[in-house]
């Protein structure tokens, strides 16, 4: 069995007196899609921030493709092959959609040498996420749905091998969820992506993910396939408050 693309060991994060994450460990193999689930405040976004390098872990170790990310700034973690979306979207408002992707393509792992080459390389991603028509509009004028798709497009455009998707389904109607699932499946296939997905929309999580990590109060209480998780008594008691 080949080494995992992403490996997390004993990961912990304290903010002063608050323990956001404690002793979380799991692997993600190349090509896998792993979900992360848990109530609000369970530590999911903190986990992403640690993996992407936006925060430093208090304890533990993260390895991307065998290389430790300890002490690396987020831009260097990105170049190792990690792309991430933010739950609260962070577009470059005055730059056009195309220019937003250009940044990703030029500075990410893809390392495109200039604007023209970068723009050519990002056209497929624009098309896949339905942003081609808005390509030359300032990103700040997009609807929230458009900006969420832009977040995903940018993360993919960096040429990342593992993409961290933070609640990209939030606020979507059931039809939109289905469309987004289809888009993600296609992107995953066309770019050979490994995905780590935070979601509250259960249906999306079960559909996309081979395995799910369940966080509760910063601790990992279960890892398994969707079916195993659905039947796990610890998960059920955490979510329903009693053994149902």
């Amino acid at each position: 069995m080949s080494a995992p693309l992403l490996s997390v060991r004993g990961l912990g994060k304290r903010f002063g007196g608050l323990v956001a994450l404690a002793d979380v460990s799991f692997d993600v193999a190349e090509g896998e899609t792993v979900g992360v689930m848990g109530a609000n405040g369970a530590g999911k976004t903190t986990l992403f921030s640690l993996i992407a390098g936006n925060e430093r872990p208090t304890t533990g170790r993260i390895e991307v493709d065998g290389r430790s990310t300890a002490g690396l700034s987020p831009d260097r973690v990105c170049r190792l092959g990690v792309g991430r979306t933010f739950q609260i979207v962070k577009p470059f408002p005055a730059l056009t959609v195309r220019e937003n992707l250009r940044t990703a393509a030029m500075f990410g792992r893809a390392a495109m040498p200039n604007a023209a080459v970068a723009d050519r390389s990002t056209q497929p991603v624009l098309d896949a996420l339905g942003l081609a028509d808005a390509a030359d509009q300032p990103a700040g004028t997009l609807t929230l749905s458009g900006q969420k798709r832009l977040e995903i497009a940018r993360a993919v455009a960096t040429g990342a091998r593992v993409v961290l998707l933070d609640e990209v389904m939030a606020g979507l109607t059931p039809t939109e969820v289905a469309q987004m699932l289809e888009t993600l499946r296609r992107l995953r296939a066309s770019h050979g992506l490994t995905l780590l997905v935070i979601e509250h929309v259960m249906r999306a999580l079960m559909d996309l993910c081979a395995r799910i990590v369940v966080l509760h109060h910063g601790e990992c209480i279960a890892i398994g396939t969707p079916d195993e998780i659905g039947a796990d008594p610890r998960v059920l008691s955490a979510y329903l408050g009693s053994s149902a």
Binding site: F15, G16, L18, P93, G140
Partner: protein, 301 residues
Amino acid sequence: MSLLETLLSGQFLFAALVTGSLYALIALGLNLVYGTMRMLNVAHGDVVMLGAYGAYGAFALLGVSPIVAAPFVAALGGLVGYGLYRGVFRRLLASSTPASAGRLEANSLLLFFGLSILVQNIAALAFTPNTRSVASLSDVWHLGNVAMTGNRLVSLVVAGTTCIGVAWFLSRNIAGLAMRAVIERREAAFIVGVDVDRVQRTSFVLGFASAALAGALVSMLEQFSPFSGFPFTIAGFIVIILGGLGNVKAGLLAALLLGAIETYGVALTSANLRSVLLYGSFVGALLLFPNGLFARRAARR
């Protein structure tokens, strides 16, 4: 004078208290206005300057001592604050979305800087750029071997009681609590039923009034010109950065600290270094707290 003698000297302690209490008063006003507007009012010191001119005017035209003029000058300052709030800021604050608020904050500094330049130079055109001061209450009192001129003693008392009074008000009185709530988290205060508009209005009025009051005191204490305002703004900001936004009690301590740094620093080195110490403290405070006033709130999300 040896180091120990300087540090223990009652004379310098008095000087430090006078300066510190003045800074505390200025910082108090800045706290209130910034807390409502969320914009760095770099023109705050210019309100102090205008207050000084107001007291000077009363003295020159009516022969009235700045102490007597002070409450009127303060009231006038409050009126200006009220007018500005109703005329300009209420609309600005009400119409801002989170996105536009971010941009506004970034540009706001340039805006207030432009206003400051406007005010300073219009004042210079109106009053001439020459320095002035009011010679009043210059008789000297003695406590032990500390010589205190009347004007500085009065300034200490007025500034000190005003600051302590407002601090008490903010921590005990329900209206004061409402004010602190609005400073800390406006939307939350609104949700729990605070009349945000009235609180903001009151903060503005109090903020400007206290600045004008400080100006009246300054007119007795030192020479001032239309361009004297900015160092006061800087001092005010140092105090707020060190003490934390909305934290009036910590602000009082920080102001006294700043007064001490200036007084003892100058005493131990030379008068040339007064500005070096002021701006050095300013740069140091900002570099220590790169998030300005929000360093303390970093843990919360």
